[in-house]
Symmetry: D2
Subunit: 140 residues, 4 copies
């Protein structure tokens, strides 16, 4: 199996069981080893008391991107620490895209930067995630 095929099989398996990513309406734009691009649209039920997207929505999109990018190597990986800055408010109907890049990987630990942009290309959130790479492989 090629690397790319492995990445796809792992993420397909994760996504098929990921009820919350499905509720969010996440679409997979690109899946590669250590990298992914996801897209979703802000709906009315995702807004907070300021009438803008709840911080948990952009975090959730980024956290799904972290899970898919880090597990795409075929090794089960779990988040140990994540941080996010919400830099621009989003409103109902806005389409957002998260791009996950692997910025460091070692035997046990890997770090990802995930940038979320809106449809006009403006950065709306910056996410940094660190995962622990277990010794268990995905069965695909």
């Amino acid at each position: 199996m090629t690397e790319k095929s492995l990445a796809h099989k792992v993420v397909d398996q994760m996504f098929d069981h990921d009820a919350f990513s499905q509720w969010l309406g996440i679409e997979r734009v690109l899946i590669e080893t250590g990298r992914c691009v996801l897209r979703m649209k802000i709906r009315k039920e995702m807004l907070n008391g300021f009438g803008i997207a709840h911080g948990g929505i952009t975090y959730s999109l980024a956290d799904s991107a972290l899970a898919f990018a880090s597990n795409s190597h075929g090794r089960k990986s779990v988040s140990v620490e994540t941080s996010i800055s919400h830099t621009v408010a989003m409103r109902e109907g806005d389409e957002i895209t998260a791009t996950a890049e692997e910025v460091s990987i070692s035997e046990k630990i890997a770090v990802y930067y995930i940038t979320i942009k809106n449809h006009s290309g403006k950065t709306v959130a910056l996410f940094k995630g660190t995962v622990y790479r277990t010794s268990r492989d995905w069965e695909v």
Copy 2:
């Protein structure tokens, strides 16, 4: 108006318009100036591809607690940076409680620690949030 009454009026107003906190099923256990306790239950549609609560769910609960605790002073406050460690996995039916404590406050910036515990009192997530305190007051 007393401080406590102000805190309640602000958070009531925020919560009434906060569609996503309502979707999560968040209950307000305690609201005080600079402090709050929130509770919710993990539902099937909140699970991820590992069959456990999606990281975005606990983040969202903590982020709501950050918003309520920081705005409870009556000044509009917005998140600038947040981080979370997911330390214990949660399953469907688990009830979780988030407690927000104000650990630092100055004219422009305030910092909160938010601890999420499960029903048996075990810490399941640790959240640190920094807000920018604008110069605009809530009208209550």
Copy 3:
């Protein structure tokens, strides 16, 4: 060997070889399993371009506290992600105390909160550190 004795032996060994902690003038106030208290004084060569303590100084004190507290169990542990908020400026001559508390520990990952206070008890910095616990023990 008791737990407390093990913690002391490990930290003694680390500290004796830790040239930078010695340059900082760090004193060990308390060493326990998973916990420590360190103290130091701000010197002229530790100031930055604003005439206050460089952010790297308080970070360094907290990072030493993280290393001592996490290794005190006898297992070699390495930092994977740390964050710090500098909440109050410090000046030459100020004495600061860092207290490290273990807020979560599992087989592979542990999380610590480290609070730095000045001599009047005011919190000047808030640090959160995550370590990876290797499978190698300290020889003491």
Copy 4:
């Protein structure tokens, strides 16, 4: 005064009074508006109990880069939250370079990514810093 000239004047003034950056042996490789590159060499007194560079050393280099890049606009800016992952150990004699990039800027808040690489181009630390932009200007 051009933007670039303003950036240089502000950073010169900061650096001339920054005793700790001088102790570290920091050299300014590039100073631009919202961006800078700094370089230094790991010395014996910068090592920790593992015989590698203390985490406070790389943090300090990144924190200086954050201060220079964020103040280079001419507006006094102060760090509100910073995080760092130490991904590769450094030894005595290693030369390291920090590159600060402005990834988000608004009226009051700006965010920077700072990447530290060793002389062979390998990333050794990843730093994310958020500053509060005061309303006071540098007098240059």
